[in-house]
């Protein structure tokens, strides 16, 4: 068998059943890479776009009436209205600030407690039970209690958001810490790392993926908590907009509000993906297909 035979194999175009061709395929492969990259971006936008098209169609075809599920076109008008009134411009910064401060508080506490409970048995013994209790509090039912305890200023709003975000952060951090490879921890201990330095140099970086999952979840929760928080003496904010529209028979604004939520959710998600990208450069990304 000569080299030229191998390079232009007469029959090898159809290799015997037991043989597999793993050669990189020049032209196709470059197109393939490009396709895979763009397919991702396209699908991420296409799927929601298709859902919206379906929704508009369902209105046009009369599957849902205007009142219960206004068509996307009506939602666009609602955005126009909110924008020209200046409601949107006022709501976003206010709400984002509230969500941000509440989230920062909740995440800090959740992270600290999660680390503590994850690292030290006594931490778990002390904090786990109270936190398990905290997370089952139905916040919707305790809004009046929050008013009683924290008044009607910003405090109850921020407390509520913070309280709602502590748990997801705690739980994921805790499990992340517990999931760190025992062998690597031992290595750190052997080289004299204990306590805080062991946590910051070995455990926290390695548990970061889990902590980021918690943060991602908590960020979503902080937005959701706005709806409750902004029932308390708020005159602007996305949660307030949604509540108000709900009480005034404006399903289009309710859905517009949900749209803002969804958008913020996606923004949060993109930010978290970026954060993960930068915070976890060491982590190989795998999928099986």
């Amino acid at each position: 068998m000569s080299v030229s035979e191998l390079e232009h194999p007469p029959v090898a175009a159809t290799p015997p059943a037991a043989v597999e061709d793993l050669s990189p395929r020049g032209g196709r492969s470059r197109a393939g890479v490009a396709w895979r990259t763009y397919r991702g971006r396209v699908l991420r936008i296409l799927v929601p776009a298709l859902l919206i098209a379906l929704w508009q169609a369902s209105s046009a075809l009369g599957w849902a009436d205007e009142f219960t599920l206004p068509p996307p076109s009506r939602i666009l008008d609602a955005y126009g209205e909110l924008w020209s009134n200046g409601d949107l411009q006022a709501a976003l910064p206010t709400s984002l600030q509230r969500a941000g401060i509440g989230l920062a508080l909740g995440v800090t506490i959740g992270l600290a407690l999660g680390l503590f409970a994850g690292l030290w048995k006594i931490g778990e013994e002390v904090f786990d039970a109270p936190l398990q209790m905290l997370r089952t509090i139905p916040f919707i039912a305790v809004v009046p209690l929050f008013i009683t305890w924290f008044g009607i200023g910003e405090t109850p709003k921020l407390t509520l958001i913070a309280a709602a975000t502590v748990f997801p952060m705690y739980l994921n951090t805790y499990h992340g810490v517990r999931g760190v490879d025992k062998k690597v921890i031992e290595a750190g201990q052997t080289f004299g790392l204990t306590g805080w330095r062991l946590a910051t140099r070995v455990i926290l970086p390695t548990a970061l993926p889990a902590a980021l999952t918690g943060l991602r979840y908590a960020a979503g929760v902080s937005l959701l908590a706005l709806v409750l928080a902004e029932q308390i003496n708020a005159l602007e904010g996305i949660g307030y907009l949604v509540n108000n529209a709900n009480q005034n028979q404006r399903p289009d604004i309710v859905i517009a509000g949900i749209g803002i939520y969804a958008l913020l959710g996606i923004v949060v998600d993109v930010l978290m993906r970026l954060a993960e990208h930068f915070a976890l450069p060491w982590r190989p990304r795998v999928t099986i297909g």
Binding site: M1, L6, A12, A18, V19, E20, L22, S23, P24
Partner: protein
């Protein structure tokens, strides 16, 4: 090597670049059924990278790669699934895991670990884990067997047993075998052909024509060892002397 038979592994001009370093830079290799080829080379020279490409776990950046469909690999690390007991790890790829339990136990018996069949991987010693990985590879009927330093964590006696085991498997299924090792003696004992990978290409390709069983006392053995160690940069005086 049987030149009449068709090559089952046929790679040509394989390149693999990490960052701006071409770890493999035009590697050609053909293996036939039953070939046992040892691959030597300094640490970090691309041996594992080449094996990964042959295993289909990594794609070459350039070149041509034809390999048998049925491949078995013993990785440089044991790579056991931590959540499955030892025996289930042995028949990991099997279609009927429960039915194949006896096969798993047989393979474990061969590597001397029948008593650990129900253990969790995390409780195994380094050498035990490596032997489970070996049992897993030997329990299959591959067309190509890729071994990445499979005996590194084994003591001398266990190592000899494993050599025999691998030889037996080769006799039984006649796969092509590519064995990465750092032990020159091991390479000479087991292989028909010895390659040295360095600087991104295969620099040395010698056929071992000492009849088996080979003896370390054999003059040709010592000669070949000296040759290979020389090419690996180890001076005679320091280590290569018999």
């Amino acid at each position: 090597m049987s030149p009449s038979a068709e090559a089952v592994v046929d790679i040509r001009g394989v390149r693999r670049v990490f960052g701006d370093r071409a770890v493999l830079n035009g590697v050609d290799l053909r293996l036939h059924q039953g070939d046992v080829v040892a691959l030597l080379g300094p640490s970090g020279t691309g041996k594992t990278t080449l094996l990964r490409i042959l295993a289909g776990l990594d794609a070459a950046d350039d070149g041509r790669v034809l390999v048998p469909k049925a491949r078995s690999v013993v990785f440089q690390e044991p790579r056991l699934v931590p959540a499955r007991r030892v025996w289930r790890n042995v028949v990991l790829g099997s279609r009927h895991v429960r039915r194949d339990r006896s096969r798993a136990v047989r393979a474990l018996t061969e590597v001397g670990l029948a008593s650990h069949q129900n253990a969790w991987p995390v409780t195994l010693s380094g050498g035990e884990a490596q032997r489970v990985a070996l049992a897993r590879a030997l329990a299959t009927e591959p067309g190509l067997l890729l071994l990445d330093e499979p005996f590194a964590a084994l003591d001398a006696l266990t190592r000899i047993r494993m050599h025999d085991l691998v030889a037996e498997l080769i006799g039984r299924h006649n796969p092509a075998v590519l064995l990465v090792t750092h032990d020159v003696d091991e390479a000479i004992l087991l292989a028909d052909r010895i390659l040295i990978l360095d600087g991104g290409t295969i620099g040395v390709d010698v056929t071992v024509d000492i009849e088996k069983p080979r003896q370390r006392t054999d003059g040709r053995f010592a000669e070949l060892r000296a040759l290979l160690l020389g090419r690996l940069g180890v001076g005679q005086a320091t280590a290569a002397a018999p």
